[in-house]
Symmetry: C2
Subunit: 201 residues, 2 copies
């Protein structure tokens, strides 16, 4: 049982996932890439697709998981930077913007399927974002004087703003991006301030 077989299967499976991610772009969303195109790019026959996924839906959900994983890894990295003496807001925003720049297709998937046509997709993305939010809420709760409930609402608002700014960032040049980022930072400060006012200890 050397697993040559299983190993190869895993390999083409990953090839399918990567092929699908590669076909995402500003003008191509998951719902308009076809099984055949994905199979073609992965270098297998269309019908072989079914050896790996029940249908495109199942592939998509797997991709959402993968994107969520990337996002959480990113967050851990941001926390490390913060622990070693960075500003919380600036570091987080900068880290997120790097995510959008380097993993734009993963971000695009989350962004679009968040309001897409499949309830399962929407739920999956919502779950990933909730993880993200809960971790931030936990951080806020322990690191700032802040009521638990308010910490969550604060985190939720912040995540929404950051996500939306990320979406806008995809369409803008670096000049606009700088302004956008600055506005975002201010808006996050508003929330931190406001939350401290209502929910501070």
């Amino acid at each position: 049982m050397s697993g040559v077989r299983a190993q190869q299967k895993q390999k083409t499976r990953q090839a399918l996932i990567e092929a699908a991610f590669n076909q995402l772009s500003a003008e191509h969303s998951f719902s308009n890439i076809s099984l055949r195109e994905v199979a073609r790019e992965a270098g297998i026959a269309p019908t072989s697709f079914y050896r790996h996924f029940k249908d495109m839906n199942e592939l998509g959900l797997t991709m959402v998981d993968e994107a969520g994983l990337t996002l959480r890894q990113l967050m851990r990295q941001a926390r490390r930077r913060i622990a070693s003496g960075g500003s919380v807001i600036n570091t987080s925003v900068q880290t997120f913007m790097e995510f959008i720049d380097t993993s734009s297709n993963q971000f695009r998937l989350l962004l679009r399927e968040r309001s897409g046509t499949s309830k399962a997709f929407r739920a999956a993305v919502a779950r990933e974002i909730k993880h993200f939010t809960l971790e931030l809420a936990h951080y806020l709760e322990t690191e700032t004087p802040c009521d638990k409930n308010h910490a969550y609402m604060q985190a939720e608002a912040m995540v929404i703003l950051v996500f939306n700014a990320g979406a806008d960032a995809l369409d803008q040049d670096s000049q606009q991006l700088a302004e956008l980022t600055e506005r975002l930072v201010w808006q996050l400060r508003y929330i931190a301030r406001g939350s401290a006012h209502y929910g501070g200890h």
Copy 2:
């Protein structure tokens, strides 16, 4: 020149637009409704579609305009309610939630095409949202002690939060919706507070 001809044309044009809106739903977005389906529902032959729109893109942009119009009318209505003595935040949120309930397909269009695959669509939606934001910013600037720049950033953040809450509202029952709305109101208060702190006069 009674215009019987032009009148009828306008009528089927509107029928096409409505047919398209009717086909939008939780599981059907604009990008996956077809010219033929729209024509079928509007009661004309597929090829007759071209007498009214160059392609589906043109139809879609028209729909975005229409949805934007609905949104602005709604806002005017909210301002009236506020002027006659309602709380700003509560009234606005309530009005918006009614929009989502009664014109959910218009909202869905804006929501999805905001991050869709057509740059023209994204720009069109962004324009509508910017109108919305600018009017709110203007209101904040005149009605509250608030720096112009901060008024805009505040308005922008608020609109984003309201929009996102609306998106979530589409998938939830009335129980969850009540909680969601309450959280949203708090978050808007954060922003108002925070903005007042940094940008108040």
